[in-house]
Symmetry: C2
Subunit: 417 residues, 2 copies
């Protein structure tokens, strides 16, 4: 209802109503651009006060572009300049931000032809930053070291910053994050005494859960110093320092042999060029009957990450297709046992995060400026839209060595009563 | 115990016991060859009566090579000539055939280095026959049109000639084949009134099961005339002619739109060069919220099928890696929801088939000559070994359109009480 009212108010404020005959150059350029996007049902309010209404259907919301240079910039490089314009407050949305982004994803998916020139140019223009050892450190620092306090405002008690697993759509974020950890541990058939190496451990929630609830011994690697400090403090508080070791180092430096390899939400930062190297680390880290799980954002086909997200939010990040993920396993004869795509769970998770983010806005405002708040809101809303529309996927891949025959006949054990 | 006695008897019969000092040229060539194979624990009895004992460990069985040209041929092209020699009775196995093949697979897996010259040469030498429309028809005819009576002797009542799904390792073949059909139908969330297109339907068991137990309407495609005759007779007998249509045509000619696409055990005959075309057929056959399943033999990494199998048993066949299978889905933005690797179920299935095959040997002997019987025994035993050692995999891939959000949050429904 709020969205509708906003649109009505905006409509009243508009000083001029566009008619095809006397549309400005900007309006005509915008209209042409919207056609290439598949004509999403969106209304635009231009700096001149002119309105551009959708070619068909009633608008889900109104996008108000406040100045001419933002409008022209957006027409030139829409993917990056829309986000930048919104973050800077030069673009205002009257209506539901998530719905807006959903209709854009849906309509552009219809026009996005495989192998199209636009597709290839986008891939070439927007290559993610390299993930060398130093590059990874910079890339990770830029996102994860901006303050544990900030993250704790909206991630909830578990401080898990990856897709949760909802026992039902009504579950709380905390219930779903705990259920995710149990789902992962069951997929790994984790048993007391198992040794685990974790690549990219965030604030340590999974490692600590494995030790507490499954009796595992975990060595957890991470290159985010702030996350590690938090994780170590938690381990101390929980009296788990002898069972969980948090190590500040790159996954490429993992040494030793383990029963289990786990990586939840790190692959997005590895970079395609390093998949085979990651597979080598996995293979040499596992015992002859070792097993592993990699949980990652993915795509239905190879495509660059949204360039605004890659530039402003996750430098160096890439979401692989399942075929690309196989470049981790195939060179080393690792045997894929189970793949589950839980993308709708990420839409639910992100909705909870965005809700809490908005609720904590006042506190966040004392830490960061308005530009930051708007940028993060757009990132969270856009991610909901991407998972909701199938633009992004979430793959959990379970694997083992080729020679391991200790494999249950059924996956029934993942679904206890 | 029988195996052990055979070895002992054979040992007594051997006229000479090899000693490194006076080993013949053949024995030395064989020994060198066995080193490249990773020294499997096998004893050889040569045409001269000379014995070649394993470099380490006690032999699991004895391979008796009866003439010199078979021995030399085997050293030149072991993969094809061993099978041909066995089928012709010029190679005799004293001991457990499956165990022999398992130790060969296991020891050669250890020496088979990724990207090795031998690996690449094998891939180049043994390219499978093409699957053009006419090529597919010939290839399929050669294996599947050799007599329904023959297959009915060992496939069991269901006449399902694909990997079964064992509720427990003790289940019968019939129970496991029915459980497989239900597992597939549950993965597809098949409901009364759903329309299904099946690509490669064998003797029709899955199509008829879908109609009988799930109320689906099925159009099933196949290019094996003998299988279709059998399937049509079954449909008539079951009074399902109005719900299940068996069509003699290539999957590439599938027309119409369906709620469900299913293909169990056909992909092996499609050929890599046609994966994208298969994906196109899948995409155009599905409604906007359609779903599908492809069940296929696979590999942990791309590799040609065993050349003896491709030449003598399954002309034109190829078992893809999971990464290669993605070439079906990715060009068409089909979204992979679930992958399950059930290779150990295929080892169980094949054990049942081989057991029944041996029990029906007398009846089979009235249909085919001894060469055929030995060839098929080797094929079934070799397949058990391949699935048991992880040389082959069995992937069930569930997918849907990118835009379909009617996806259950959990796979719990696959595991009813």
């Amino acid at each position: 209802m709020a969205a509708k009212n906003n649109i009505q108010i905006a409509a009243q404020q508009a000083v001029a109503v566009s008619a095809p005959a006397r549309a400005s150059i900007e309006a005509r350029l915008l209209r042409r651009f919207l056609t290439t996007l598949g004509d999403p049902p969106i209304e635009f309010l231009l700096p001149s006060g002119e309105r551009v209404t959708p070619a068909a259907g009633s608008p889900v919301c109104q996008v108000h572009i406040k100045d001419r240079s933002t409008l022209l910039g957006m027409l030139g490089d829409p993917q990056v300049r829309f986000g930048d314009g919104y973050a800077a407050g030069r673009i205002e949305i009257h209506g539901d931000l998530v719905k807006l982004l959903e209709v854009i994803y849906r309509s552009s998916a219809r026009t996005d032809v495989e192998g199209s020139i636009a597709h290839r140019v986008a891939g070439w223009l927007h290559r993610p930053r390299r993930n060398t050892f130093a590059g990874s450190r910079d890339n990770i620092h830029q996102h994860y070291d901006i303050g544990n306090e900030f993250y704790s405002l909206w991630l909830g008690e578990t401080m898990a910053y990856t897709c949760a697993y909802y026992p039902s759509a009504e579950a709380t974020l905390e219930q779903a994050q705990l259920a995710k950890m149990d789902h992962v541990c069951r997929k790994l058939r984790l048993r007391a005494g198992d040794t685990v190496v974790e690549a990219g451990c965030g604030w340590g929630s999974l490692a600590l859960h494995m030790a507490t609830h499954y009796g595992a011994r975990v060595r957890a690697f991470n290159i985010s110093r702030e996350q590690l400090e938090f994780a170590r403090a938690r381990a101390k508080l929980m009296g788990l320092e002898d069972r969980v070791e948090f190590i500040e180092d790159d996954y490429r430096n993992i040494s030793g042999r383990y029963d289990v390899f786990a990586s939840v939400g790190m692959l997005e930062h590895v970079g395609r060029e390093n998949y085979s190297e990651l597979g080598r680390v996995v293979r040499r880290s596992l015992t002859s009957i070792g097993r592993g799980l990699i949980h990652s954002i993915g795509r239905n086909r190879p495509a660059p990450l949204h360039p605004w997200i890659e530039r402003r939010i996750f430098p160096g990040a890439y979401a692989p297709s399942l075929g690309e993920m196989m470049q981790i396993f195939e060179p080393w004869e690792l045997s894929v046992l189970d793949v589950e795509n839980i993308r709708l769970h990420y839409a639910l998770t992100l909705r909870h995060w965005l809700e809490r983010f908005e609720a904590a806005r006042e506190a966040i405002s004392t830490m960061f400026d308005e530009h930051f708040v708007r940028m993060w809101r757009l990132y969270l809303a856009g991610s909901i839209a991407a998972f909701e529309t199938g633009t992004l996927q979430l793959f959990q891949v379970v694997f083992t060595t080729q020679e391991n025959n200790d494999i249950p006949l059924s996956r029934q054990h993942l679904y206890p009563l």
